[in-house]
């Protein structure tokens, strides 16, 4: 059965690695629903968060292939409910609307969003949450006219107390010592 999986990849920060990673998905005709990349808590190690909709079997095999990439340190996969995850969305609506009625203000207040910037022409609203939450706000604002909308890729964090990678790196160091 297909479901959403979050694949987390820890890697060196080398040119071309993103391409090598996406090739693993492309070759199997798997679409990437979301992708974010940034430096992890460990300096010099980068973290990719990739969301795909696939079967467990296929995800396991993809992760196996990702770990074969020389510059990849470790890849993990989790179901959505195994991780705490967020996306951020920005909405631009006309400032005039805000003056005309209090509806926009109520929507913003009820959704836990916040206003980032107000100009004479527009206001920018920011909302973090799951995709369905940012989507819901979009739909609530849509009737009033959303001038621009953007949503980020997903970031996710495990429910375990420490970063899995730090445990992994300790084991890896000892393995590298053992192999001649």
């Amino acid at each position: 059965m297909k479901q959403n999986y979050i694949i987390t990849i820890f890697s060196e920060n080398h040119i071309g690695l993103l391409s090598r990673i996406t090739i693993v998905f492309t070759r199997r005709k798997i679409n990437i629903d979301s992708l974010t990349v940034s430096e992890s808590a460990i300096p010099g190690i980068f973290k990719f968060t990739i969301v795909i909709n696939e079967t467990k079997d296929r995800v396991e095999k993809v992760v196996g292939q990702l770990e074969k990439i020389v510059d990849v340190i470790k890849a993990f996969y989790n179901t959505e409910d195994e991780m705490i995850h967020q996306e951020i969305a920005l909405y631009k609506v006309s400032t005039e609307l805000l003056y005309e009625s209090d509806k926009i203000e109520k929507i913003v207040r009820n959704s836990g969003a916040r206003i980032l910037e107000i100009t004479r022409e527009y206001i920018v609203i920011e909302k973090t949450g799951h995709k369905d939450e940012t989507q819901q706000l979009f739909e609530e604002l849509a009737p009033f006219g959303v001038m621009q909308f953007i949503r980020s890729g997903r970031i996710a964090i495990t429910r375990s107390i420490i970063e899995k990678l730090s445990e992994f790196l300790k084991v890896r160091d000892s393995l590298l010592e053992q192999v001649d």
Partner: protein, 565 residues
Amino acid sequence: MATKRVSGSEAVILSLLEEGVDTIWGYPGGAIMPIYDALYDYDQQVTHILTRHEQGAIHAAEGYARVTGKAGVCFATSGPGATNLITGLADAQIDSIPLVCITGQVASPLLGTDAFQESDVVGITMPVTKWNFQVTQAEEIPEAIAKAFHIATTGRPGPVLLDIAKDAQFAQFDFEYKKCTKIRSYLPEYPVDPFAVKDAAELIDAAKKPLLLFGHGVILGGAEAELKEFIEKTGIPAAWTLLGLSALPSDHPLNVGMLGMHGNYGPNIKTNEADLIIAVGMRFDDRVTGKVSAYAPNAKIIHLEIDPAEINKIIKADVAVLGNAKKSLRLLIDNVKPNKHEAWLNEFRECDKIEHEKVIDKDLYPTKPGLTMGEVVRIASEKTNGDAILVTDVGQQQMIASRYFKFKQSRSNVTSGGLGTMGYSLPAAMGAKIGRPDRTVFAMAGDGGFQMTIQELGTISQYGIDLKIIVLNNNFLGMVRQWQQLFFEKRYSFTELKNPDFVGIAKAYGLEAAKVTSRDQLADAIQKMLDHKGPYLLEVVVEKEDNVFPMVPAGASVSDILLEP
């Protein structure tokens, strides 16, 4: 180590020498000219062989790597030079062949400008290399080459490619070389888990009908002696994949033959009767398993494998032993009880009898007038006492030769297994001969594959590479024709070839050559070829519409193997 001020180009050559490289295959061109200029001063330390096409260079490097166990090295220029390497890279990637390929690239300020002979080589080769890297500064060269050799030759080997911009080839810097032994993000192999070995040993000791399957991993891991010791201690019959061929002597009593589509009858049938499969350094390729859902239904599976991504990829392992085959087998030998499986082994011998009657005898000792590929292979094998290196192409002759050629030593069979690259044999055989000048090397090809890289006759002639080339000519793309006959109602769509005079072509290149059309000339012709000092081409005209049997039809289970149409 003292540093020396050199150009990037000279650093390339010095780095290769530091890695013990003695042979480079290549083809010069604009963007790699500085490296070729540096090479000019080192012709006493390293041999460069100029092929007639970059594909020839990379297949030769593969052949060299296969017989020596060292990384094969090749040079090509930017653009078309580099793109001509792609087939060889894909071949080496799927067959786990260690290669270090160096391509010239346009000067770094021109990158991305569609400069003359610029192509995105790092981008293009990414899916077909274990690792690749673009060098834009001379200072990066020693470290990149050290990493390249470490990655290519350790763990599950594979091809790597370095793309070196022309300005980096010219720039001067202080050269210092340090070998690479460790990369944080790369674990070549796992240490063998003794608990997994214990679990495996328990299954092995309890099995009544165990069958061992060995592949390329045994050869790559140098585990031939351990394989032999393991099967002799446990009495377990052993069957081989196409790339495992020659890891165990052909005449070993426990060697029960080839697996898969055109493999032997016994190992295919018995796979589905076995209660235990011990897979060593093999990856359950679809040509070996046939229909996966019907594969080895009664067997537990033990998988000894260096690459974690291969575990459970096709066939789920009950016990997986990660690590180098040599180390895994060594531990396993120490943990299993001595055993014999005479009755089980006899079942394989019975199958062998049936296969001899129905297929083998007719192939090897035909009575019909037309020559068979099988008898050519048999005579070539007999006349060299199993001591020769056999390099085959792809198709019918590859299957026939793999089935019937006899081997005494490992690293003696060179063929394109995973990719099935037609045109492989002639250039790969050049590499095999340069790698092992002490051995007789056969290059065997069909009339189709031979013409895909026929231009390498020029290389063979120029360097006097002493190959014994056998072209098995049936005027057809034989394997495709066989499938058309069996599965496409004999609709021979574009498989018949009008061939040139192969002997005339060989002679025009300055090679000795002869043509055989009848059985009474065959043995003498092969003897004459072997007695000749230097390269020799023998064209053998074989039966036009012979088929390779047994055969597991595509999509069928291995136990549905056919002995005849």
